[in-house]
């Protein structure tokens, strides 16, 4: 048995094992309706993690995702009455723009992505506080229901929120595997210098990857604000850790180049099962962050490709 050969199969085996353990401890876990609502609850997190996958896939990171989502919850709430469902376009564009600026700062100004996105996150926080007047805003219920009420319905038993997640996953998967941009992402993630040497416009690819991450964070913020019917500069706090965990336990290593959006789907489900397990096993909510912090360390340690760090781990 070669560890490197079974490594790609770790994520789904982990998921399966976790499901079995939790199911054995509490058979009520397998209740289809309960499962469905668990999966639906995790949709905003999943969307953010999907975007984050692109940033990590090229070997970067997007620490601004949570703040961008926060900002978008405010944007969505403030502009809902003015633009109706069109507010979605604004939200996605706002996220895209923030991500693109992060990408620009990273590639053209040579600021490492963890600093550039951290800094852009604070710019987003500033914008969110400005727009919200530092208050928790709530949406007008009728306006929300006319524009986004369809999100809470379901067709043939599939909640529309879940359908959104699946569509976005399909889009991300298509981008990653069926477009030249996707191949370029892989090239940059596998070896940036080689990608530059083979004539790829690496800067453009990276800027676009961060922009996509921002756009998905925007969509996550929009879905979240519609779900909670409001916006606030701190609404999505707590998502960042879970989104990073979802990407990493899914098997996309911090060093990039392998893994991808399907892995992130599995990773998000793992996060979901761990959270559900903690509820069943009566681990209090206050302990969850600690648990996920430890899970994060373990996941990074297991997945990271140390040959790429070339002996120097800064």
């Amino acid at each position: 048995m070669n560890l490197e050969r079974i490594k790609p199969h770790f994520p789904w085996m982990t998921l399966l094992a976790l499901v079995c353990v939790v199911g054995a401890a509490n058979p009520a876990f397998f209740d289809p309706l309960g499962l469905l609502s668990l999966v639906t609850d995790v949709v905003p997190l999943f969307i953010m993690a999907l975007g984050m996958t692109f940033a990590i896939y090229i070997g970067g990171i997007d620490l601004s995702a949570q703040q961008v989502a926060n900002m978008v919850t405010v944007v969505a709430t403030v502009y809902l009455s003015q633009f109706g469902i069109g507010v979605a376009v604004i939200c996605i564009l706002a996220g895209f723009l923030f991500g693109a600026v992060s990408g620009f700062v990273t590639t053209r100004l040579y600021v490492p992505s963890f600093v550039s996105t951290l800094a852009m996150g604070f710019v987003a926080l500033s914008a969110a506080k400005y727009l919200s007047g530092q208050r928790a805003l709530s949406m007008d219920v009728t306006e929300r229901n006319t524009s986004f009420g369809w999100m809470f319905d379901s067709t043939a038993g599939v909640p529309h929120q879940l359908a959104i997640a699946i569509v976005l996953l399909a889009v991300a998967w298509f981008l990653q595997t069926r477009t030249s941009f996707g191949r370029a992402l892989k090239a940059v993630g596998s070896g940036e210098l080689a990608a530059v040497a083979s004539g790829l416009n690496v800067d453009r690819v990276k800027i676009l990857a961060f922009a996509i991450s921002g756009a998905f964070a925007g969509i996550a913020g929009l879905v979240f604000s519609v779900k909670l019917s409001g916006g606030d500069a701190n609404l999505a706090n707590g998502f960042l850790l879970l989104a990073i965990v979802a990407v990493l336990v899914g098997g996309t290593p911090l060093t990039g180049g392998v893994g991808g959006v399907i892995n992130t789907a599995i990773g998000t489900l793992i996060v979901m099962v761990i959270r559900a397990a903690m509820v069943y096993l009566e681990v209090s909510a206050t302990q969850q962050q600690m648990v996920f912090g430890v899970v994060l360390i373990v996941a990074i340690a297991l997945t990271i490709d140390r040959s790429k760090l070339s002996g120097v781990v800064k």
Partner: protein, 347 residues
């Protein structure tokens, strides 16, 4: 102190890149200190009030100076800790968690052992420092032994720390109301509270470690060129772990001062320290690539950040602008301090 002349290109004799990078932070600080009173001067002039520039300024007064000093001291300690790490070319993002854990454990021990500095409760202070050192040590071990990049290892440790603090308190606030301990804030010598002098003492200690101990020189060696340091026989792993441990101790000092300032220890004690301290370090001129800068740079950086925060309040700008301004400032500082010829690409 730091010789980077080998990398610098001459921009016409006097104005070398080296000189600009070295002196820019202090010039920015002086400019800011003169700028904010100027805004006040302008607004009073427009309202037709008598105003002598600098002398009548609310910003440029001893009271406001003390206010900036009080606001800056906990962040200064945290930033000094982070400076050692950044000199090595690594980064530490775990401070929020470390500070919360240290503050909360300090408060538990302090209250449990008597609740006043005059009793055995003073032992809570060394306890907090030891806890900080342990957390820093674990952080360093995870980074070095598991070969995880420091930003991610420390970020994860930060989450663990915040979670641990939350677990310990269950979300409660602990009040530390001992008058002797609070004299850190309440007793003033020459207009400045004792905590400013405590911070100064630790700053001098940090400077001593940086310039007059082998460990301090080793930080620069690792930051200047890790492979070179390794091949000249330096135990780089050990230096890194000790660096993170040392940083943890300074985070604990920051936690103690933060508790001394507000009299409350809770999970949220550590909030906002991460971004402010990293901003202060890089704005002060310690390069993210390592090898350049030091604790005096960080002192200037912390003052820049706090003067901006305070000055914006004094001239009446809404507080939410600060986050965005700091964000832009970080990007600017890192971009300016990066020598593009020596960097091939960044992740």
């Amino acid at each position: 102190m730091t010789d980077i002349s080998a990398q610098t290109e001459a921009l016409g004799g006097l104005l070398t890149r080296d000189r600009i990078v070295r002196w820019a932070p202090i010039l920015v600080l002086v400019a800011l200190v003169l700028l904010f009173p100027f805004f006040e001067f302008l607004s009073d002039l427009l309202e037709g009030k008598e105003h002598v520039y600098l002398l009548d300024s609310r910003f440029f007064s001893i009271r406001n100076g003390a206010r900036i000093g009080i606001a800056a001291t906990p962040a200064l300690m945290v930033a000094v800790g982070a400076t050692f790490i950044i000199i090595m070319g690594s980064i530490d993002l775990s401070m929020e968690g470390t500070i919360s854990v240290c503050a909360v454990l300090f408060a538990f021990a302090f209250l449990g052992w008597g609740g006043t500095l005059a009793s055995w409760a003073w032992l809570a202070i060394p306890l907090a420092l030891v806890v900080g050192a342990i957390l820093g040590f674990v952080n360093g071990m995870i980074h070095v032994r598991l070969k995880i990049p420091s930003f991610m290892a420390s970020l994860a440790m930060g989450f663990v720390g915040t979670g641990l603090a939350l677990l310990l308190t269950g979300g409660d606030r602990l009040r530390v109301e001992d008058e002797l301990f609070r004299s850190l804030l309440t007793v003033r010598w020459l207009n400045f509270p004792i905590m400013c002098y405590v911070a100064l003492a630790f700053l001098l200690l940090a400077w001593f470690i940086q310039s007059h101990t082998a460990l301090g020189r080793n930080f620069y060696a690792v930051g200047g060129g890790e492979q070179l340091a390794q091949s000249s026989g330096l135990n780089v792993a050990r230096v890194r772990i000790m660096g993170f441990t040392l940083a943890g101790i300074f985070f604990a000092v920051g936690a103690l001062l933060a508790v001394g300032r507000i009299g409350i220890a809770e999970t949220a004690t550590g909030n906002n320290f991460m971004f402010v301290s990293i901003t202060a370090v890089v704005v002060g001129g310690t390069a993210l690539w390592g090898g350049i800068g030091g604790v005096w740079n960080t002192l200037v950086g912390v003052q820049i950040v706090n003067v901006i925060n305070n000055g914006m309040v004094v001239i009446g700008l809404p507080p939410y602008v600060q986050d965005g301004v700091l964000g832009a400032l970080v990007i600017l500082a890192v971009a300016l301090s990066t020598n593009r010829r020596s960097v091939t690409f960044v992740k």
